[in-house]
Amino acid sequence: MTTLQLFLYAGAFILVLGVVATMLVRDLIRRLIALNVASGGVMLLLLALADRGDGEPDPVPQALVLTGIVVMAAVTGIAIVLARRVERLDDDLEEVEP
């Protein structure tokens, strides 16, 4: 097994782990963490692919990953705001119909 393969297989494992957990976990904050873990797996795949060969790494996947990190931070932010909303509505519902 080469370093490239080690990174690629680890990336595939982390990606699938995150996606499965995103679908199975019911706590909203934990689901968000699982989604972030999945994005870490995608980044590992892309960056390992960018670093193939001996020369300079391929800048295109690296740029894609940079874009992805910023988008993921924005998604995390708005998802937390939405999760708070949902949980507050759940609390209110419990209050109204005990």
């Binding site: 990174f7 982390i14 957990a21 020369g55 800048p59 924005a74 999760a83 949980e87």
Partner: protein, 326 residues
């Protein structure tokens, strides 16, 4: 059956990858939010280490500033709230669903590994093409050339996503931004020392990004962190809320669209840059993007930390206190 040989692989790589995999498992398996968040933050830090191993210093900087910094602050800030009880479901059904998920996940990993094992170790054709064209882009750092010139439509759409997220979060939490309690002398000193240093670092990352690792994203993340620290330390001059903050966030997107139109007028292609003014245009748009991204991240943080007012419980309590009918 062949034994997997790791003889070609650096021991450090194996250790870091193992640690990353273990923290990833912990982050999704631990039921308590606090512990899961801590595992995730460790996961992010280890990833930044791994990015240095795959020759991606730009990504490592962004991961450390955004993944560990701003996203970590967002998640930790969400923890002070009580974790709702998970709804009671039958244990058997949960076990079945988890088992089905685990089996499907294992099958998917096996399929992915089969595909990935057939990849050649040769780099794709696109990389050399991009590296060759860097000298015609106006900047000398390949990643900045890709982000702000070759594929700047991606970056335009990304800033649009960030703007929509900031606007949406601000709209959802309007009027409920927590006021900062009086910062003690310690926090004031922290603000005086750290905030200017972070702003300076953001400026350096921005300008350095034209020729070496760094750029608008990393600078924006650091600026966002500076704004959040300023807010937490009670500096009111830089509050990331209200119309002014929204205007600053939208400016980056509008300026980028205008740059696209200028490119259309000057070269006949949407978003194309002429080599004569490409450097000036890239540095100008990066400066605006840095401010926009920084302000948007700070807005998201404030919105995520907004207090829970206006719920039915609160309204009832207030009505009872006022002595009126609910």
């Amino acid at each position: 059956m062949t034994v997997v040989a790791f003889s070609d692989v650096d021991v450090l790589d194996i250790l870091v990858v193992l640690a990353v995999a273990v923290t990833a498992v912990l982050a999704v398996v631990i039921p308590r939010r606090v512990s899961a968040t801590i595992a995730f933050l460790v996961f992010g830090l280890l990833l930044a280490l791994l990015w240095a191993r795959v020759a991606a210093p730009d990504v490592a900087i962004a991961e450390a500033a955004l993944g560990g910094g701003v996203a970590g602050a967002l998640l930790v800030d969400a923890l002070h709230r009580r974790q709702p009880d998970s709804p009671q479901r039958s244990r058997r059904r949960t076990a079945t669903v988890t088992a089905v998920g685990a089996v499907l996940g294992a099958v998917t990993v096996a399929a992915l590994v089969t595909v990935l094992s057939r990849l050649t170790a040769e780099p794709a054709d696109l990389g050399p093409l991009a590296l060759e064209a860097v000298e015609r882009s106006g900047v000398s750092h390949p990643i900045t050339a890709v982000l702000l010139n070759f594929r700047n439509l991606d970056t335009l759409l990304e800033i649009a996503v960030v703007v929509f997220a900031a606007v949406g979060a601000a709209a959802l939490s309007r009027d409920r931004i927590r006021p900062v309690s009086d910062p003690g002398p310690v926090r004031r000193v922290i603000a005086v020392v750290i905030v200017p240093a972070l702003v300076l670092l953001a400026g350096w990352l921005l300008v350095a990004g034209t020729s070496e690792p760094g750029g608008a994203f990393q600078a924006g993340a650091v600026l966002g962190a500076a704004l959040i620290i300023a807010h937490l330390c009670g500096v009111h001059a830089a509050r990331a809320e209200g119309r002014r903050a929204l205007a600053i966030v939208v400016t980056g997107l509008v300026a980028f669209i205008m740059l696209g139109a200028i490119g259309l007028a000057a070269t006949g292609t949407w978003l194309a840059l002429d080599l004569d003014w490409a450097f000036a245009a890239i540095l100008a748009i990066e400066t605006l993007l840095t401010v926009s991204i920084g302000m948007a991240l700070a807005m998201l943080f404030l919105a995520a930390g907004s207090r829970d007012e206006g719920s039915v419980t609160d309204a009832r309590a207030r009505a009872a206190a006022a002595g009126g009918a609910p």
